[in-house]
Symmetry: D2
Subunit: 343 residues, 4 copies
């Protein structure tokens, strides 16, 4: 089969002919119908320190995927042959304290598909049965491919109450866009979308027309938010950008007693003025990663079935897998929504 | 009356004869029976940048106090003449969002007794009626004087679940000691007390014999805690020291999904590795300040009535107010528990 | 002034000329601009056992009201002369455990305006300052008059999570209608409105077109809800009807682990099969009464400012106070939304 | 092997020689070292309507058990041969909404060992691997056998906050006794133990000397609790008796805003005065069943390791399996703590 392989410890990747994966007793084999590019994939392609610290080439990468089950291992009871599934990237051990207490998504011995095991930028992929979320047959494969990143947004946004709250979303890359759309759909009464890139701000507007758009490159966003909240600040900050500057702002615009959910990954340590930012303010700061298995997936299913929010407009570009290079460079440019690949 | 006055913008303080305060319609006058020295008082005495940024001399300082009500304003319905009261240091505005939603202790327009208004290192003190907690007549005045700082510990420790949890307390000054005692009394199944000063560690041992004592000056406390928790880390870190090093350790020893409550005030910004310390770990970080009015006070009353915890051994020194200089220097030395003054 | 007075212990009421109320030091006098009829008012008018157990005539009744402050007591700092205010019906003591721990709305010594003190079906009403919620000057008086009952719905609906949940609302009287509108506006992904009266069901449809309408007089609503939820049942039941039959159904349609909020007041004891309805199912059952002071009012303000929900269509009839008899009988008929009176 | 078999649809049971169970790919075989008698076993033995509605003889009953793993199925990775395990009685399906969202203990398709499948009153028992909790080798088998019922108490007691709370426990059978011991160990500041049987009350005293003992057969317990709580009522009622009278009392002694956890199973419907008992009071009522998998088991492990509570004194009688008849009748008599059987 064709597969996009990180062949060496250097920038780049190669589209190779490789064997279709063999599966173990608890795995399934899926025929990949669509896969989406994640920031992690760009790290791998560019061979950044983040990737260097985690990856052992050669490895097929890619992990946001939707596919049809074409083979099942001996011990697999679900999913079934022919099922359409979305891939949950995190492979929990099932045995640690976290796995045993409803927090598999922060398993102590987590492995990640497309980082620690061969991934989904390929015609076929071996996926542990425990990482499959079954979709109804009529689900568009494109939608299935973006559920994993949508789940990051749903989990992060709903890690605390948003009903009747003012919410500021820092960063309007794909996950930030999902956040804006989700909180606007699910009961936030005031939404601020912050992003320096005008293209992405415009996307936020299309997803949530009621959101107030703020460009930190052009205006004093802290002042703007404080003025729009009677000087009090927002109830909730969702930090999705990974920028250290944005992280600091996320605290500055927060009202006393508010919540900051940290979703984006800064590449450098963040210096916080903990007395002013957290202690006197009694801020609640929540780290958010991945998706709660399977609560977040159920939330997505209910949300999508209800028609309250349509994430599809976040997909802006589609390429055949062979054009991976253009696709990855485009996604890295920071002007797109989600970029999809079709093996 | 005699009162300890911060007379100028320089180190030191003077014991002066001043007029007994006049009270407003919503105030009471108390005859101070005992007052305790807080870290803030030491800042004021030493005229640190912290104090310089907050205080406008001349001002009577001191705010952890117990006294008898000897006069009441026209509009005061409670407390009554003759009541014994402990002082809640925070004067909430009663009108802001926080005050109207059960969070007066993080009022937007908070004033603090002994910082923004004349305080309690004096024979008499004017206290807003709204800042009085009534005590039963037989409550020792010494106990009444330490309820305010005990409340900081109770509020911080109980800002999340401690039942059946492993808890590490960073710093065994008076509030850290209270934390150790409270979590040991109220259901923590494993308690670690961390403190470089052997005298204070020994006090932690007397308050909670089951606590494991760890001295970061002498051993690798992160390793010790991880070993004692099967490599998983503690469920809860209570950071009471205000040390940036301890703050970092509080995150390092935390298990995935754990809670860090930040109670102590660092004097410098803290640089956090938010991906490792908070995000991947899905830590919950809570700023904790003051006492919830009046939930924390009720919790203290119930706790003390039950006999589960006796905070009195944390009081190690007692001085007449005239010896304020010795008392403040001793308290500043970091070898004591609570130091009390009697006007 | 003109006032509607319950003059004796028998059905009926009289519109009398009485003195304008004198106010105490902590009261304000409002000129009533609009008042709404509550179920309690109908009980009083019809002199039901519910009213007989609570009321001591003579008394001016009515408590859902909006008015302008025309006089303020000596000790009142807020509201100010000229302010437009909505009335919070519950007068908390301010001293009991509940009042001191953020739960004034379940005060142990609660008094109720229009039940224990003279109320608002009059040209002027004496209102404790502590029961006034300030409105912006441009708020329609009709809206101000229905905030109190809207608050019952907001408090009850938001007593647990509704985001991404399926919610069944039992009863579409005014408060049930508010519930339907609020949960549809604030993130419920599936809404069921249950009501035997077709007129009221049609109102539910106008407020929340996405709600599924179910008439228990015409169909097997338990089966219909189970079928519409894959046999699992709803996440949340809001019981607003006070009917014992509906209360039982609220449990029968609940999924394992779901929540029932009891808002409507049954006039007879309810026999529950606690093992099947609550224990095996691990139901969470929440009693809900009144409005959290002032959290619920802030939630309403944010909700209304956002434009997510407009409660005004729930007002269906308007009468001058002189036509109280027609208004009360109409409201008692069960075919209306909110009925307003104008003194 | 010897096994206690419910052979027919009539009172009684027979100790028979039967084949050692064969196990499936996901099962283990344990050699039973100790088993405890549950109320359900008495229902089965006496062939009550409760048993008649659930059981299809012939069936080996008994489900509270501790044993050594002597064979493992092909697909089992844990537990291992030779492991000592306690049995979790509930067999979750793993596929339903509840199983996928951290609530396996309220699985929609739950099967129960010793009720729906052959149980543990036998020399050997087939147990699904997913129902095994691994114990350290030095755990006494008697302790292992009572973890399942202890878990019911831990789960019920900790279904809400008990720290610094007043708690009334209704019923001092084995699970009630565990509740009394656990809440006293874990931070309740006032504990009331209610039970008509003086022998059991005396056991409550030995487990928790600080608990106040109340005998509803001899005194007005509602008045006693109200007097002991300043007329306010308790923060938490744990209803463990299953008595309808006790259930009503559990609400009557509750303070406004308090919690009732329903743990015991009434055999008849309970008539509740929902306005007075739940709505005006804003009670939180929680159904509690089984043990959260595996959070409750981890809580037990931490609790037992800490030495804060020793449940062993609740075991009062021990019999060889051959004396099952005496053991079951004794346990049915209501004068014992836990009764153990040894196959």
């Amino acid at each position: 089969m064709k597969a996009l392989v990180k062949t060496g410890r250097a920038p780049g990747a190669e589209l190779l002919d490789v064997d279709i994966p063999t599966i173990g007793a608890t795995d399934v084999l899926i025929r990949v119908k669509a896969a989406a590019i994640c920031g992690t994939d760009i790290h791998i392609y560019h061979w950044t320190p983040f990737a260097q610290a985690r990856l052992k080439p050669p490895l097929i990468f890619g992990h946001e995927a939707c596919g049809e089950v074409v083979a099942v291992g001996d011990q697999v009871t679900t999913p079934k042959l022919g099922d359409l599934v979305a891939v949950e990237t995190h492979i929990p051990c099932g045995q640690c304290y976290q796995c045993q207490t409803g927090a598999q998504h922060i398993c102590e011995r987590m492995a990640i598909i497309g980082v620690h095991t061969d991934g989904a930028f390929a015609e076929y992929a071996r996926i542990p049965a425990v990482c499959c979320w079954r979709l109804s047959k009529d689900t568009p494969a494109d939608l299935g491919a973006i559920l994993e990143p949508l789940g990051v947004a749903v989990h992060g946004a709903l890690s605390g109450e948003i009903n009747g709250k003012s919410v500021a979303v820092f960063g309007c890359g794909p996950i930030g866009l999902f956040c804006v759309g989700v909180v606007a759909a699910l009961g936030a009464t005031k939404v601020f979308a912050l992003e320096p890139n005008p293209t992405r701000l415009a996307m936020a507007h299309r997803l949530a027309p009621q959101a107030r758009l703020l460009n930190p490159a052009r205006e004093d966003v802290v002042r703007a938010i404080l003025e729009a909240t009677e000087g009090r600040g927002v109830d909730v900050s969702l930090e999705v950008s990974g920028s250290t500057e944005a992280t600091k702002m996320a605290f500055q615009v927060l009202r006393r007693g508010g919540r900051v959910s940290l979703i984006g990954m800064p590449s450098a340590p963040v210096e916080l003025d903990t007395p002013e930012d957290i202690i006197y303010k009694e801020a609640t700061v929540l780290g958010c990663t991945g998706r709660i298995m399977w609560q977040t997936w159920w939330q997505m299913q209910y949300l999508l079935e209800s028609g309250r929010f349509d994430p599809m407009p976040v997909i802006t570009h589609r390429f055949p897998l062979a054009d991976f290079s253009s696709a990855l460079e485009l996604a890295a440019g920071g002007e797109t929504g989600k970029v999809l690949l079709y093996p």
